[in-house]
Amino acid sequence: AVVSTQSTGSHCKGVVNGFPLKLSSTQVEVKEVEFNADFITRMLERLEWGALVEAASQLGVADGLPEMVPSSGKEAEEEEDVLRKIHHVLLEVEITEGELECPETGRKFPIKNGIPDMRLNEDE
């Protein structure tokens, strides 16, 4: 579910910068997903790093995530370590119950059963 929270921004009317949504969770599940270094490396260039670290902190899983986007050229071992941590946060930590909050309007989008409901009402 963190993958979708990385990508979703607020689409409330009139919101200029609705990204990133603030994340709060009441229930988190951790599952095991096979690590694919190539995939995570390719994802790196599309991630809003600050938002990822922020979301991970809000979930209490930010340990070991560097402050800045890791760049290639590091020792292969060190790099894999970081990639595995990113893999864990992105693909293995799932918010089963929680909320995403628009940073501008405060509008909350619920997450139930791991699924965020981003539908707006007609007037929004």
Binding site: V3, S7, T8, H11, V33, R119
Partner: protein
């Protein structure tokens, strides 16, 4: 995985428990799903190892097929709560862990996702036959926004020229990968025919010429 194997597995994907005609909800036939997904992967390599977005996921046969063909991750978008429930059950039945479902309205005017988040977009969108004219183009536009690679979609053959001109005008390339007839069930009791045959194109819209 062989195409026949894929088709066989996809036959176990459960259909809509409560289909809504206004949303043009009907299941994608497993034989067709297996064929198109196989074409996407063997012809273009656009599934294996990729991040995929499906628009209007319904019960999820296409998303599930993508996972079986080695997609790294699938984000499944769907507006209808009943369909989301069916989808969730199917994902659970197949023990799939790498599909994230987001309930949202694709036609919502403002953008919900950051642009070009995903590698490939795949969809069987509504055709705009139920007081929702133009919705097929909205789905196509949104799909192009969401992904950085190719969009694979189904559209009425009668709209082929319009779509091609429009997409080429925007700098994209359109390839009609297959032509087929969709048998769309009529769900209203008042309709005389039980099914309607519609000529449909399976298309690939891409940024690069292939």
């Amino acid at each position: 995985m062989k195409r026949k194997q894929l088709e066989s597995l996809l036959e176990d994907v459960d259909r809509f428990s409560n289909p809504k005609i206004s949303l043009e909800q009907y299941p994608t036939d497993p034989h067709l799903a297996a064929n198109v997904l196989y074409t996407i992967q063997s012809g273009y390599g656009d599934i294996e190892g990729r991040s995929i977005v499906e628009l209007g996921t319904g019960c999820g046969i296409l998303s599930i097929g993508c996972v079986m063909l080695g997609a790294e991750h699938v984000t499944a978008l769907e507006v209808d709560s009943d369909a989301v429930e069916d989808l969730t059950e199917n994902l659970s039945e197949f023990e799939i862990e790498n599909v994230d479902v987001v309930q949202c309205d694709i036609t919502s005017p403002s953008s919900l996702f950051r642009e070009h988040c995903f590698d490939t977009a795949i969809m069987n969108p509504p055709f705009g036959t139920k007081n929702n004219e133009g919705i097929d183009m909205e789905f196509l536009d949104r799909a192009l926004c969401l992904c950085r690679g190719a969009v694979y979609s189904f559209h009425k053959t009668s709209t082929r020229d319009f779509i091609t001109r429009r997409m080429e005008g925007m700098g994209y390339h359109v390839a009609v990968l297959a032509e087929m007839k969709f048998s769309i069930p009529q769900m209203y009791k008042m309709h005389r025919q039980r099914e309607v045959l519609v000529a449909v194109d399976f298309i690939r819209v891409s940024r690069d010429p292939t």
